[in-house]
Symmetry: D3
Subunit: 137 residues, 6 copies
C-alpha cells in the first residue's frame, strides 16, 4: 500500500511581544530589538499541517484535508486567531511566543487529534520571508 | 515623452484593535467581531507605493524605486513597523486603525515626499486575501 | 470624507467545457482546442470582489470584508464551488462558461447585494497565469 | 563530488470526481461531500518534479531542468492536461483520482524516464492550500 | 454586449546594465548604484499583457489567451529571453533598458499584433517587489 | 529541549552564462541552449537559509532570523547581488555558475558563520518554477 504525505494550509493572525521577564529590560531590548516593543506587534501566520500515512484504498485519501481544516477551525483557530499570544493564550504564560514555540504549541494541540495518518511536521510562516518546521520531540 | 506608472512593494507588521470608544462595548463587539479583541491582534502589511510620471530620457526612470524604498524606510517604517497602531501612532488616536485608514495615513505621509512623478495610489494588503486602494482625497 | 476601494479574495473550483452547440464540432475543436474536451476539465478560481465607497467615520470601513466573504459564501459558493458550470449552473445553459462570462455572472449576482459602497470590479483568476476584470455593463 | 536536489514546477488542469462505485451513494456523499458531485469539478494542479544526484562537473547540472519540462510535456501533459481524470485516464478506472493517487501516477510515469539523477519526490498542489508529497513505494 | 479586460502573464529573463554614455562614469555610478555594474546583472521578468474588448457571443472570449501567449512566444520571447538587453536588442542601443522602457518596447511590439480587442496595458514585474504599468503614448 | 528548523528567505539578482571552455562551442550550444548566450542573461534569486537546532529557553529562538539576514547582507549580498557571476565572482572562475553550484557556494560561505544552530540546507530559487536544495558534502 503506497504511503504519502498530505499538507493543508490554514491561516490565523495574532499579536505578540518577545520579552523575557527573568532578564533585564536592557537585555530584552538588545536581544529582541523591535520585537520587544511593549505595546505588541503582530503577524499573519500561515500554518501547514503535514500528515503522513498509507493511502486508503476506498477513499484514495491519507486523511481528508477537509477534516484537517475542521479540526484546526474547532480547536486552534478559536485560541489563536485575532488573539494576543502573551495575554490571551495561557500556554505562553511561561514560554516565549516565538514562531518556534508557536509551532511547538500547534503540534501539541494537533498531534493527538489527527483522525488518520500521523502528524509529521508543523510548518509555520510568520511572514512571507521566514518560517519554521517542527517535527515533534 | 512616454508616461508610466512605477510600483514598489514594501513591508511592515503591526498590532491593532478596532474599537470606537464613542460607541457601546456591545456595538463594538457586534460591529468588529474578533477585530475588537481588547488585547489586540496583528498583521503583516504589504504596501505598494504607486507613482506616475514621464519617463526621464537620461535615466529611463519615472522615479528610482530605490529612493521610494529609502523614503519608506526613513519616514514610515520607524513609525509603523513592530508597532501598536492604537497606542504608538498618534495619528490613530481619533481614527480607527482600519486598513482603509492606514492607507490614507501612508498617503498623507508619502505624497509630499515623492522625489519624482506623482503618488497616484497606495495599495495596502492586510492579509493575503484582502487589500485596499487609496488614490487621495 | 475620503473614499477608498476595498478588495476581498475568495476561492472556488469548478469543471467546465467550452463548446458552442450552434457551431460544428470541427469549429469547436479548432476554436477551443483542449478546452473543448467533451469530458470537461477544471480550474481553481480566485475571485476578487472590489468595492468602492466613502470610509465610514465610525468604523473606518468602506465595507466589512467579512460581510463580503459571507455574501459570497451564502449566494455564490453554493452555486459555483465543486460544480460543473455547463451542467449544474442554469445561467450558463445558453452562454459559454468562459472566464469572461463567469466574471459577468459573479457581477450580476453580487452587485445588488453589496451591503455598503458599490461593486466596481470583479477580478477573476482562472489559473495563476490568466485573469479577467469586469466592471459592469 | 557534491550532490544536490533539483526541482522543476510544471502545470496542468483537469476535472475529476471522487466516487467509489463499490460503496453506496450515501457513503460516497458522506465521505466525499462536494467532491462527490456527479458532474465533476476541477483544479489547477502544480506539479513539482524532484530529482537528486551528483552535480556534473562539466555542466554544473544534476539534470537539465529543461529536459524535465520536456519529458513532462511529452508524456504526462497530453494525458492529464484539460482531461477528465475519471473518464479520460485509464489508470484511474479502478483507483480514486485523489491528489494522493495522482501523485503516485505521476511518479510511476516519470521515475523510469528521468535522464540523470533519481526521482526522489513528487509534490503535487491541488489548490493553493493543499498539496501532497509522494516519495515512491 | 458586455466588455471585459483579459490578462495573460508570460515570462522571460534577461541581463542588463543601466549606464548612459552621454554622462560621466561618476554620474552613472551615483545615479544607478549597483545597477551600473559594468559586467551586467539580471532579472526574471513577469509580463502581463492586458487586452480590453467586447465579449464575443460565439466564443465567450474577448481574445483567446492562448493566442496572446503564442504571439508573445513568436515575436517577443526570441528577442528578450536569455538575452542581454544592452547588447542583443537593437531597440535599446539609444535607450536605457530600465523596466519602464522595456514595458514601452513590449507595448510597441505587441500593440499592432493583438488579434482581438485592444492592448490597454503592459504590466511588467522586474522583481517580486517592483513593477510598472504602461498604457501607451 | 525541543528542536526546530528555522528558515529565512533573502534575495539577490545576478547575470550569468553557462559555458564550459574545456568543450567546443557546439557542445556548449547544444548542452546549454539559450543559457549559453555569449552576452549573458540573468535571474532574480530567492535564497532560503535553513538552520536547525534546539529552541533556546530564554529567547524562544533557534537562531535570530534577523542575524541570518544580517550575515547574508554583510558577506553574500555584496558578492552576488547585481553581479555577473562569471566575471565578478572568483569562485566561479573554474566552476559553472549553475543554480546547483551557486547553492554550494552559498553553503560554503554561510555554514561557518551561522551564529546558533547548524546550517542544514540551502534552498535556492532561480525562477518561480525551478529551485535546488543543497545539504552539504
Amino acid at each position: 500500500m503506497p504511503r504519502c504525505t498530505v499538507v493543508r494550509r490554514v491561516h490565523f493572525n495574532a499579536a505578540h511581544r518577545l520579552h523575557n521577564p527573568a532578564y533585564s529590560d536592557e537585555w530584552n531590548r538588545t536581544t529582541f530589538g523591535p520585537c520587544n516593543n511593549p505595546n505588541y506587534h503582530g503577524h499573519n501566520y500561515e500554518l501547514e499541517i503535514v500528515v503522513e500515512g498509507p493511502i486508503d484504498d476506498a477513499t484514495g485519501y491519507v486523511v481528508d484535508v477537509g477534516l484537517l481544516k475542521q479540526i484546526f477551525s474547532e480547536i486552534l483557530h478559536p485560541v489563536l486567531d485575532h488573539k494576543n499570544l502573551n495575554l490571551d493564550v495561557p500556554w505562553f504564560r511561561d514560554r516565549m511566543p516565538s514562531v518556534e514555540n508557536i509551532a511547538v504549541y500547534c503540534w501539541e494541540v494537533l498531534a493527538p487529534r489527527i483522525p488518520a495518518g500521523r502528524l509529521t511536521r508543523i510548518r509555520l510562516w510568520e511572514t512571507p520571508r521566514n518560517y519554521v518546521d517542527y517535527e515533534g520531540a
